[in-house]
Amino acid sequence: MAETKDILIDYVLHLADNSMILGQRNAEWCGHGPVLEQDIALTNITLDLIGEARSLYQYAAELKGGDSTEDSMAFLRDVTQYRNTLLLEQNNTDWAYTITRQFFYDVFHYYLQEALINSSDERLKEIAKKTIKESTYHVKWSSEWMIRLGDGTEVSHLKMQNALNALWEYTGEFFIPSTSEMEMQEKGIGADLNALSIKWRSKVEEILKEATLSIPESSFQQKGGKTGMHSEHMGYILADMQYMQRAYPRAEW
């Protein structure tokens, strides 16, 4: 029984870390967006993601018990304990990379919520019901940017295609199940990643076609994030994110 609980915690943390790390990355844009309105738009999305991550961290902390809190989950775990996929920790680089990364995640995130709404875990179900409204908007926002820039000027098209080529190899990891994802799917708690993969691919192809962008031919795919094997970027993200709690333990607003 204890083991099932640990697997559930691992699964919840994976869901939380994905949104937390992308949120943290996007937050770097705050005050630096290309135009005021898009600065606010991306910050809004970021707040949605971090809000979702909070709900999940709270759940994980309750499951874990003891003196765990949402803060200890977010700020006191080390790199190898983080379960987010590698895509989400990649550098912002420029607006094209940021939008492409966001788009890949938004489509995945949307279908994930759609699946989790039917989870046998009541808490995950409730969180998914709230989150799907947010991710519906996120997909719309990033899809429109993919199309606008992909099918825009010669320069914007080139930048988007470059970002797509660079980030594509990080998309496969969404659908390579970790041990806890497999277990959770069997128990009717987690999402069926195969089914999700088909929906993701079809939506991504539809938008890329309209954006006149093409999927790279190479089939190589990175993995490791879900089991804590992160890229070098991750340490920097956590250093930035966790600095305050590490320097001033249990500091509060």
Partner: protein, 95 residues
């Protein structure tokens, strides 16, 4: 990088069902869809509205400030246009 500015849009928000859309401000956006989304992100983050209208600022036609006298002053001394000469029953509260 292109330095061309995106067009300016005026934003109108309906705070709740039954109320009018009210002008709340303006913003820049490349197209209609982006204008609505930007309005959503800039002006409705704190539950300010249930409906958004946007219109490109260039389509707004305004009255001339120099015509102020001709347009508005004639209404000044026509108090009979205000329905203030009726005796209302006390039960009638919201007039």
């Amino acid at each position: 990088m292109s330095t061309k500015e995106w067009p300016l849009w005026e934003v109108f928000i309906r705070a709740k069902q039954g109320l009018n859309h009210k002008h709340v401000g303006s913003l820049h956006a490349a197209d209609l869809q982006m204008a609505i989304e930007n309005a959503r992100d800039v002006y409705t983050r704190r539950m300010e509205g249930v409906s958004i209208w946007v219109v490109e600022s260039k389509h707004i036609h305004a009255s001339e400030p120099s015509e102020q006298e001709a347009l508005f002053e004639p209404a000044n001394d026509k108090i009979y246009r205000h329905p203030t000469f009726y005796n209302l029953p006390v039960e009638l509260n919201h007039m």
